[in-house]
Symmetry: C2
Subunit: 328 residues, 2 copies
C-alpha cells in the first residue's frame, strides 16, 4: 500500500480511500491511484484491514461438522457456504469425527482466528467449553444435534417423533419382532431415534427385546454384520428399523435375499433407494434446509439479535416405497 501511495504520489490514506470507494477523492487522483494499483498488482490485506476496522469483524464464520466427507454433512455445509457467500462471508470448515477433543481443538482454532460466528454439529461430548466463546460475543448455532451444557440456537429435525412413526408403521403392518440398528447411543440424534423406537413399542404394548437392538454401529460394514447376526437368531426379527443411511445400506447388505421377506424402514433418504428391490421405505430429512436455517439463525445473531435461544424443529417426511410395507 505504501508502494502504491509512493507510485501515485499520494498518502496511504488516499489509497485506502480509493480501495474503499470513498466519494471524497478527486477523480484524477483516484485515477492515478487506480493506475498505480494496477501497475503494481496491489491487493489489499483483508486481515490487517479487519484488525483495525470498526467492530473487529473478520467476515468469516466457522463450520464444525462430524464428517465433511459424509454426504449429509456436505449438503449441510454447502447450504451454509451459499448463505455465507451471499453475505460476503468466508467459511472455515472442520470435521470432528465425533471426537470431543478434536471438536475443542477446531473450535478453539477458529475462535483464535476471530470468526464472527460458529455453526457446530456437537459431538457426544460436553459443549460447556463453548460458553467461553459465547461470553466473548461469538454467536453459536447448533445444527443437527443439540449441545450439552449450553443454551444456544439449535436446528434439528423431529428425530424422536419421526422414529416413533416409522416403527409404528412397522407395527401397523403386523410386526411384533422389530429390530433396532443404530450408531452410538451417545450421539444425540441416535438417542432420540432410539427413544422413538421404544415409544412405538410401548404404545403397541410390545416388549423391548435387548437381543433385537444393536448400538454402536459406526459403518456400513458394522451394520451388515449386525444384521446378519440378527438373522442368525433362533427367532429372527420380521422387521428392522435402521437409524441412519449408512446403517440402512448395511442392513440391506446383511439381509441379502431375506430383504424380500423382512420389512425395513430407514432413517435418512439416499440416492437409488427407489431403485432397489424392494424399494426402500425411509424417513427423509433435508440437510440443506438444516444448514440454510442454521445460517439464517447465525446471521440474525451477527446482525445483533440477542433474544432468547431458539430451537427450530424441522419436519421429516415419511416415504413409503415398499420395504416398509412388507407384512409380518
Amino acid at each position: 500500500m505504501r508502494d502504491v501511495a509512493a507510485a501515485a504520489g499520494v498518502s496511504v490514506m488516499t489509497v485506502s480511500r480509493v480501495m474503499n470507494g470513498a466519494a471524497s477523492v478527486a477523480r484524477d487522483t483516484a485515477a492515478r491511484v487506480e493506475q498505480a494499483i494496477a501497475d503494481l498488482g496491489y491487493r489489499r490485506n483483508d486481515i490487517a484491514r479487519h484488525l483495525r476496522q470498526k467492530g473487529q469483524i473478520s467476515r468469516t464464520i466457522g463450520l464444525v461438522v462430524d464428517d465433511l466427507g459424509n454426504p449429509f454433512y456436505s449438503a449441510l455445509a454447502r447450504a451454509v457456504e451459499d448463505a455465507a457467500y451471499r453475505r460476503g462471508y468466508l467459511v472455515l470448515v472442520g470435521s470432528t469425527n465425533d471426537d470431543p477433543y478434536r471438536e475443542r481443538e477446531v473450535v478453539t482454532a477458529f475462535s483464535a482466528r476471530q470468526v464472527d460466528g460458529l455453526i457446530v454439529v456437537p459431538t457426544s461430548g460436553n459443549q460447556a467449553f463453548l460458553s467461553a466463546q459465547l461470553a466473548m460475543g461469538t454467536p453459536i448455532v447448533c445444527a443437527d444435534r443439540t449441545a450439552r451444557g449450553l443454551d444456544v440456537d439449535t436446528v434439528t429435525v423431529d428425530n424422536r417423533d419421526a422414529a416413533m412413526r416409522a416403527v409404528a408403521h412397522l407395527v401397523d403392518h403386523g410386526h411384533r419382532r422389530i429390530a433396532y440398528l443404530g450408531d452410538q447411543r451417545s450421539i444425540w440424534t441416535l438417542k432420540e431415534r432410539y427413544a422413538g423406537y421404544r415409544d412405538a413399542l410401548a404404545a403397541a404394548d410390545l416388549p423391548l427385546d435387548r437381543d433385537l437392538t444393536c448400538h454402536g454401529l459406526r459403518s456400513r460394514a458394522d451394520a451388515a454384520a449386525a444384521m446378519a447376526g440378527l438373522m442368525a437368531l433362533d427367532d429372527p426379527p420380521t422387521a428392522v428399523f435402521a437409524s441412519n443411511d449408512l446403517i440402512t445400506m448395511g442392513a440391506i447388505d446383511g439381509l441379502g435375499d431375506a430383504g424380500r421377506r423382512v420389512a425395513l424402514v430407514g432413517f435418512d433418504d439416499f440416492p437409488l433407494a427407489d431403485k432397489l428391490s424392494p424399494p426402500v421405505t425411509v424417513v427423509s430429512q433435508d440437510p440443506a434446509t438444516i444448514g440454510a436455517t442454521a445460517a439464517q439463525l447465525l446471521f440474525s445473531r451477527i446482525d445483533g439479535n440477542n433474544g432468547p435461544a431458539r430451537w427450530v424443529m424441522l419436519l421429516t417426511r415419511f416415504v413409503a416405497r415398499g420395504s416398509g410395507e412388507i407384512r409380518a
Copy 2:
C-alpha cells in the same frame, strides 16, 4: 493481552513469551502469568499474531471446488482437511458451481485473507488470473481437472484412457451402437472422457454417431430425459457410456426396464451400484486420494519446494459388475 500483563504485573512481552512457551521466563513469573490468563479467560488473537510474525504466514489454506455438496468433492475436501489438520492448518472452502466469475471472486477473497496456499478444482473458464497469486508467492495446486493458461502442480486421474477402456469393454461385448451421455464439454474431465469414448470407437472402426451423443447434462433428471430420448429412437443404442455418477443414475432412471437388455458402464463408483439389477459396471476413482495427493503437493510447495510443476496422474479401477457385460 495488556490486561493479562497488568494483572500479572509484567509487560506484554512476558505474556507473549509465556503464550509461546519461551524458555527464558522465570518459573514463578510464568505461573503468575498463567494464572492471570486463566482468570481473565484470555485467548490469543491469531490474526494479529500472524500479521507481525516472521514470514507472514496465516496457517490457512483455501480449497475451491465445483460443489461442496457433491459427495465426490466432499470426500476430496475431507482428505484435504485432514492433511491440513495434521499440519495445524485451517481450511477455507468455497464452491464455484463451475462459474468462472464466482471462481474468481472466491479465489480473490481467499488471497485477500492471505492464505498460504490454494487447492483449486478449476472451472471451465480461464485460470490465467491465478498467475497473479502465484507470482505473489501463493502456491496453487489443481485437483481433479487441469487449469487453462496456468502451469501448476496438478492431480487428476487418467480420464481419457479410462473412458477409452470402458467403451472398448462395451465394444468387446459386441456393441456397435454405443451412446455417450455427458455433462458440459467445456469441463476438462468431460472433454477427456468424451475423447476416450471417441478413441475407443475409432479403434474399433465404428462411426461417431451424433444422434447417440448427448452433452450438457447437468443433473440426474437431465440424464434420465436424454436416456429416454435415445431409447425412443428408431434405432436405439444397445449400450451406454455415462460419464459421471449422477449421469449414470439418470441413465438408470431413463432406461427403466430396458436396463436389462441395454449395457451400461458409468464413470465414478457410487453406493449401492452393486445392489441394483443388474449391478452397475463402473470406472472407479478415489476422490479422497486425489485430495490427499493435492494436499501433499501443496504442502511441499509451502515447505519451499520450487521445482518445476508436477502432474500426478492417479489410476482408475474398472469394476465389472454385470450391467457392462450385457451382450449386444
